[in-house]
Symmetry: C2
Subunit: 322 residues, 2 copies
């Protein structure tokens, strides 16, 4: 059996999984934000002990504990480098957790966990070897599956959000310039929406936002584009054709994966996003129509399952290989 931990900025979700990665039991608790790193591990450990007790499971029955972590993660050495929203830097969470449990403990970036979970799910019905998952939210996270395993290269691969698509372009949260996520994340789309509202205060979308005082989300501009507000249509078209399609065609030119999955709030736009996106990508890619672009399955507990999956040699090339 495995323990999968989804360590988020707001909640810690923990599950007990059988050897086929089905969740047997799960629970969640609030993330102790602002507390020191050791307290975080203490909190996780308490929850794990609780789930073991509830299910009458001994720790000796657990093959490994996997933890899905936010931000850049040095999985090889078990270190959270700089997780957003958590009050820690370069924290060796694996060493700290080993004080509580004498079992193998692995950590992995949450986008990579989502990718391995999507891959596991896709392969239940379809045999694929190579895919990429993009999580489009505050930033853009990426997870690369190559030859049926999570690919990490030298340990830190898959940072697709920080691929530069513009020379000396917009400043990114990583402090560099021109990154894909500075143009195509949900946060970037919200900025583009706000800027359009300011420029065109007479458009339908601007009037609504300005009169209600609502804060625009990634969904706002899509909603008004569907109502044919020409300003919203322009913002959505530029976002899809110029920004999202450029990053995705770069992935295709470089890796030519069998499929690219899109997750995050924006994936709810479904065909309204996918149809123009595929068209734009096929115009930009060197060899069009070679990669499926799909919306991620609506997987509950992708973090918990992905965290457990990375414990398995079967899926994680890098743990033993690089």
């Amino acid at each position: 059996m495995y323990i999968g931990v989804d360590l988020g900025g707001s909640f810690i979700k923990i599950g007990l999984l059988d050897n086929k990665f089905n969740i047997l039991n799960k629970q969640s608790t609030q993330t102790p934000i602002g507390k020191i790193a050791n307290e975080l591990c203490n909190c996780i450990s308490k929850q794990i002990l609780k789930i073991l007790k509830n299910t009458n499971t001994k720790i000796s029955e657990i093959t490994a504990i996997g933890i899905a972590c936010p931000g850049v993660t040095d999985s090889k050495n078990g270190i959270l480098l700089y997780p957003p929203n958590l009050n820690m830097r370069n924290f060796n969470i694996v060493n700290e957790m080993k004080k509580y449990f004498n079992v193998p403990i692995y950590i992995e970036n949450d986008s990579n966990c989502a990718a391995i979970c999507q891959f596991h799910n896709t392969n239940k019905t379809k045999d694929i070897s190579n895919m990429v998952l993009l999580t489009i939210g505050t930033g853009i996270g990426g997870g690369i599956i190559i030859n049926k395993k999570l690919y990490k290269g030298n340990g830190l691969g898959g940072e697709i959000g920080h691929m530069k698509i513009s020379l000396n372009g917009k400043k990114c949260s990583c402090k560099k310039h021109g990154c894909f996520e500075a143009y195509a994340s949900a946060s970037a789309l919200i900025k583009q929406t706000k800027s359009a509202i300011k420029k065109h205060p007479d458009c339908k979308m601007a009037k609504y936002i300005n009169s209600t005082g609502e804060k625009p989300t990634g969904k706002t501009v899509f909603d008004f584009a569907k109502q044919h507000d020409p300003v919203a249509v322009l913002v959505v078209n530029k976002y899809i054709n110029d920004f999202l399609a450029t990053g995705i065609s770069n992935i295709i030119n470089m890796l030519s994966p069998q499929a690219i999955y899109i997750s995050g709030g924006i994936s709810n736009e479904s065909d309204y996003l996918l149809i123009p996106l595929k068209q734009a990508v096929n115009q930009k890619a060197l060899i069009p129509f070679t990669t499926d672009i799909l919306i991620c399955d609506d997987l509950n507990d992708a973090g918990i399952i992905g965290a457990a999956l990375i414990c398995s040699n079967h899926y994680s090339l890098y743990i033993n290989n690089t």
Copy 2:
């Protein structure tokens, strides 16, 4: 034994190799440019028969024939899609060659062959799993080695030269805009040099070029930069820091390979290229200092050896896997 064929725009080089990929015998002939596709295969076949005769080798002793081809290559189906300088489109070279020889025949893009040859050579003294090779010439070719094998994804991966580094940027030879090779190929550097000469006709470099009538090459601007011509220094700095480093840091952010090898004429600049390039890449990459950047070994016959190597299951993941 293997036959390795390096099909170039000017010469066809052919070698007979033992099972350890040492060249036993080789020869070359001019490429029959402008002739129809079938004549090209007839020419290759004659050379292969000649080499077999010269070495007293029977075709039954040949495990496979590998052909390194210019341009985008559909290796899975044996098709040369659009080789530059050769008078053919969508030509199934494998089917045509099979009319002459009843042995397995594989084709591969020449940059991929160079990558597998470099990998093979590196691994004689050092155990590495993941690397990328860039061929910087008229365009930028790429070859990706993952988990000790040539990575091709869905069959057409590794087209790193066509990764977009600029939104709505310069037009590329592929007719799309903003590609890495439109900024960082040797041809692009020559354009940048010519434009600087036009803008600054009084600089040392411009005076030399304008008085001698010499055509600038990729080497010209480096030569004058070494002589401290401030215009040449500016061109070289922009080329390395803005263009080459952007593409290379994108490869690192995405794939985090153990090493990136640079080949092509520009690699002769050695440390004069490498030292500032490493500095710029480390400023742009999300996690610096994780990937070695190296000049490709000076490998004679990389095309012949690489072409033979792709015949081996040991190196070519994609032939059986995707």
